[in-house]
């Protein structure tokens, strides 16, 4: 093929892409005929025909001729029928194939004849009718021809076709130049020659500019990939019988050509998945009150050094329990591991190879391939895939992709005289252990045998690069070994700390991947040549975590629970507020049974020996914090009805060598709940099933993995115990709310109610921020730091924006307040209101009738929400 043919074929491809877009547009057009659109399509077809004729592709030009006639026909019709567009698109497919093939002429004769059929095959009338139209149109076509020709000649003046390999080579040279610049930079630091310094400065500027421009040359708008999705969504939607509206945002965002190529496939996979699994058939959508036409948004934007591609659908969302079940069935994960996973982690199971939740395997997806390919493809180019989903509302998949592959900003760190590069994107912050300032001092502690770093109230797993890279000698890392600089890193959404000997500059590095047989060294992703010609290895964080067998997520979870068991912590409030992912302490009752106690109700865990326990007024107590701690045997107390302190119970408590006790605080006092052993802490997204209550002292049951736990109602047990044993009536408002545990955002338009509710709540030690409207509330939520409110208490009927709308807005957002409990303050609650409120995302109702009762009701409601129990009004 000569150059002219190649060029013509490229142009054919471009025109085909444009025509596809136009056909799809025409298909969705309400009003037809749209002459302007028709003209532009005919113009493109005509140009296309011209190109094909010019390179001697006669079959193709015949095909296009048929397409022109068909399109011409539609002018007389009131709709651009599906059938027509199907035919035209099929023609385009043939032409696209032709443009991509190496053949000079390659159209399949069937397609051509298909187009000739409507013209010649039917009775004479049609072809006769077609004749004058073509003639009539030839004039308008002639006039229309002038413009695009002008345009294209202008195009060819301003644009130059360059081979990608040439750009790659140029990029390689620029990369080397950047290295030399870095080298020179280092040299100039030790040199005083002003002339030399000035020159090196200029070189710095010029090479920097060169680097940017070459990178820009390789940039392509993301639309080269996303526009193809339109066709995919249309065809797939038809095939699956689903109505889907595709919204493309940020098509102009530019990404490196090589990266565009690598995201093409993953993006297609994700969109296919969304259509196949995510979006429901129209009937199902109608049932769940959604518009029949589903909305699929592909949003692309730049953030930092990354390009973010978000794919959002408003389909059924991902059912984590089904995901967990499938993963268990497929043997992809153990039930033990599963029981410790957070919702987010369970969601990310869909990225495991061999995972598929599709009930039946379809052509489109469901063969258990796809999401793992997406993840590996994206990770290969140093990107990250994130998934979030709300059951019934939709799924959001985010691809974070580096802007370019060739040059990466990285931090150089030292370890035993060698230098290592850490990609800047992964770095959260740098801290020093030996800070002079006591207040700023960062502490290193030991937890569960491994060191952790306490940083502003957070506990992070701490790794030492020295110990990882040179395991000989150091058997175990102790807190004393860690000193100097610490890099806080984020991998897969989890933070951890890495101790290094020294931190150097941050520089741009050129990544040189390893040879195949070094790929098994997963802790490095490659090497780079530094300014002085020496090499630095590039640390791969995912590999590093894997190497240390460090499950960052599990460790963080456990360390958080550890801090919860200790003194009250800033974390505790935040965690309570999150509410939707509660943690439970698992403990044994009797021989076999395991009960779950909501962690917020656990004050401390203690072990008492026999000598600590005594009998006071027939009540077993333990000496605790300069007082006496009444002991309640959980296996007995769970039944509530039986006598709390029969002989057997007392005997059990007094004779045991050692008692595992959960200390809980209620009404300002401590109580000790005695269990047979303390098993574990779980972090679960499962809801407590209130319908199944094995005992009176149970809140319900918790199904987690394959295990069923009885959830202990600590409050009921303590209150009953107080009545039975002490003969006291427990106070109405539980004590813990008096410590201003909760900060409430009150939204109320009426001045009177706002002031009154605020004062009542404040009197009960709630912290209150009162606003007079939903918009104002939104403002506050957006501006305030994360988790600054534990709940939103809102009126429903408000001018401007109602409470329902506010709730919907919060639930639809991606910010922290997506999860914040919303409690409606209503005057009258009808069943219909309840349903509406539930749909809007409102968790609970409190009736406005008796304002003085609000604090107690609120405390009650919050208590339940924090335990992850929803439903039922106050």
């Amino acid at each position: 093929m000569d150059e002219r043919t190649i060029e013509a074929k490229i142009r054919v491809g471009e025109l085909c892409a444009r025509l596809t877009r136009s056909f799809l547009q025409a298909e969705n057009q309400e009003l037809w005929p749209d002459h302007a659109l028709c003209d532009s399509m005919l113009r493109d077809l005509h140009n296309l025909k011209g190109l094909c004729m010019a390179i001697g592709a006669t079959k193709e030009s015949d095909l296009i001729h048929g397409m022109e006639s068909l399109l011409e026909e539609t002018r007389k019709k009131s709709t651009f029928s599906d059938e027509t567009s199907e035919k035209l698109l099929k023609g385009i497919d043939t032409l696209t194939e032709f443009s991509e093939s190496g053949l000079l002429t390659g159209s399949s004769p069937e397609t051509v004849s298909e187009f000739q059929a409507p013209l010649t095959g039917q009775d004479g009338k049609v072809s006769a009718a077609a004749q004058p139209v073509t003639a009539e149109h030839s004039s308008s076509r002639g006039s229309a021809l002038g413009r695009p020709q002008e345009g294209s000649s202008k195009d060819s003046e301003n644009f130059l076709r360059v081979q990608v390999s040439l750009l790659d080579h140029l990029m390689g040279l620029v990369s080397e130049l950047v290295l030399i610049r870095n080298q020179l930079h280092q040299f100039s630091a030790t040199n005083d020659d002003t002339e030399f310094l000035a020159m090196s400065q200029r070189l710095d500027v010029v090479s920097g500019g060169l680097q940017t421009e070459v990178m820009r040359m390789r940039m392509q708008p993301v639309s080269t990939v996303t526009l193809r999705l339109q066709r995919l969504v249309r065809d797939l939607g038809k095939e699956l019988g689903k109505h889907v509206e595709l919204h493309l945002e940020g098509n102009e965002t530019e990404i490196d050509k090589t990266i565009i190529e690598t995201i093409r496939e993953p993006l297609t996979h994700v969109v296919r998945n969304a259509l196949d699994h995510g979006i429901e058939p129209p009937e199902e959508r109608a049932q769940s009150g959604k518009p029949q036409r589903a909305r699929l948004v592909v949003k692309t934007y730049q953030e930092g050094g990354q390009v973010i591609v978000e794919i959002q659908d408003d389909g059924r969302g991902i059912d984590t329990s089904r995901v967990a079940k499938k993963a268990l069935e497929g043997g992809l994960i153990s039930s033990d591991r599963l029981s410790r996973m957070t919702t987010k982690e369970i969601l990310s199971l869909i990225f495991l190879p061999g995972f598929s939740t599709a009930e039946k395997v379809t052509d489109v997806s469901g063969r258990g391939m796809g999401m793992d390919v997406v993840k590996s493809n994206i990770e290969q180019i140093g990107g990250v895939v994130d998934v979030s989903s709300t059951l019934g509302r939709g799924t959001n998949i985010t691809l974070r992709i580096p802007l370019t592959l060739a040059i990466v900003p990285a931090l150089i760190v030292h370890c035993r005289g060698l230098r290592y590069a850490i990609p800047q994107l992964k770095i959260v912050e740098l801290v020093r252990l030996d800070s002079e300032d006591e207040a700023q001092k960062i502490q290193c502690e030991m937890l569960e045998g491994g060191p952790v770093l306490r940083l502003r109230g957070r506990l992070l797993p701490l790794l030492s690069l020295r110990a990882i890279l040179h395991p000989e000698g150091n058997e175990r890392l102790t807190s004393k070994d860690v000193q100097g600089s610490i890099v806080i890193l984020r991998n897969d959404g989890h933070d951890f700390a890495l101790a290094v000997d020294e931190v150097n500059d941050s520089i741009d590095i050129v990544v040189k991947p390893f040879v195949s047989f070094l790929k098994s060294l997963r802790i490095f992703s490659g090497a780079t040549i530094l300014g002085d010609g020496t090499l630095a290895l590039i640390l791969d964080l995912a590999g590093l975590c894997e190497h240390c067998a460090m499950d960052t997520s599990a460790r963080t979870t456990e360390s958080q629970s550890e801090s919860m068991l200790g003194e009250t912590d800033a974390n505790q409030r935040q965690r309570l507020a999150r509410g939707t992912n509660p943690e439970f302490l698992l403990c044994g009752i009797g021989e076999r049974d395991v009960a779950a106690i909501p962690l917020p109700q656990v004050f401390r865990l203690e072990v008492f020996e026999r000598k600590d326990v005594e009998l006071t007024a027939r009540t077993p107590v333990a000496r605790y914090r300069e007082g006496l701690l009444p002991l309640i045997l959980l296996s007995k107390a769970l039944h509530l009805s039986t006598d709390f302190q029969d002989e057997e119970t007392i005997e059990t408590l007094l004779s045991a060598n050692q008692l595992d006790v959960i200390v809980t605080e209620r009404h300002g006092r401590f109580f000790g709940i005695v269990v047979s052993h303390i098993a574990d802490i779980i972090h679960t997204s499962s809801k407590v099933n209130e319908l199944v209550r094995p005992n009176a002292g149970a809140l319900g049951t918790l199904l987690e993995g394959s295990n069923v736990y009885t959830v202990v109602n600590v409050a009921a047990i303590v209150d009953t115990w107080m009545r039975d044993v002490l003969g006291e009536e427990p106070p109405m408002v539980s004590e813990h709310t008096k410590r201003a545990l909760a900060r409430i955002l009150l939204v109320e338009d009426s001045n009177f109610f706002r002031k009154y509710t605020t004062s009542v709540l404040q009197a009960s030690h709630f912290e209150v921020l009162a606003v007079s409207g939903a918009r104002e509330a939104l403002e506050h939520l957006r501006q305030e730091p994360e988790n600054s409110f534990d709940a939103v208490l809102t009126d429903i009927d408000m001018p401007g924006m109602t409470g329902f709308e506010l709730a919907k807005e919060l639930r639809a957002s991606d910010a922290w307040y997506k999860q914040t409990p919303i409690i409606a303050l209503t005057s009258l609650v009808s069943q219909r209101d309840r349903l509406m409120a539930k749909a809007a995302g409102i968790d609970e109702h409190i009736e406005k009738v008796n304002l003085d009762k609000i604090p107690a009701l609120l405390a009650d409601v919050l208590g339940r929400l924090w335990q992850g129990i929803k439903g039922g009004a106050a």
Binding site: E176, V515, S516, F517, L518, L521, A527, L537, H547
Partner: protein
């Protein structure tokens, strides 16, 4: 010193026995024994240069070299052949092009370039240890010497295999 053959010409399998025209082999010594590789796969030969160690890598991988911007992996022939390590301060790099990647064989001493015709290749004698034998294509014999021919494909296969990952 450098008699490097920079051509990255087509790779030849050493088993191409029917060709009688002589081919060049770069020979070198490791612990007193002579070995050689087909000169066509040798990119260049350079003196010892700073090696960036690769922590956690198997013992036969000494580290990485920066060869004028090309990153080359240094493989210790001594460790590869499981020979008892001896203190040798200066090692020579025989930089080979193996399946498109630069790999340097660290050897004690560089010998001559020798010419053999491929059909003179003989079976490896039994006296050679099985470990070493697994890397050889055969031997060439001259009146006074035996040259063991290293098959770079076999070396590469070993490096890529799981066995090589155990440090």
């Amino acid at each position: 010193m450098s008699f490097g053959n920079n051509s990255n010409g087509p790779k030849r399998s050493d088993s191409e026995g029917h060709r009688s025209s002589p081919e060049q082999y770069s020979s070198f010594k490791v612990q007193g024994k002579r070995y050689c590789v087909n000169a066509l796969s040798v990119q260049e030969i350079v003196r010892a240069m700073p090696i960036t160690p690769l922590p956690l890598a198997p013992a036969h991988i000494h580290g990485l070299l920066n060869l004028r911007g090309q990153i080359v992996t240094a493989i210790g022939v001594r460790e590869l052949f499981a020979l008892t390590p001896e203190e040798v301060t200066e090692k020579m790099n025989v930089v080979c092009n193996m399946q498109g990647t630069g790999v340097s064989l660290l050897v004690d001493e560089i010998d001559d370039v020798v010419e053999f015709s491929a059909d003179a290749l003989e079976a490896v004698p039994d006296s050679v240890s099985p470990r070493i034998r697994s890397f050889l294509a055969g031997v060439f014999k001259t009146p006074g010497e035996i040259y063991c021919v290293i098959d770079l494909t076999k070396v590469m296969d070993f490096l890529n295999s799981d066995k090589a990952q155990i440090a």
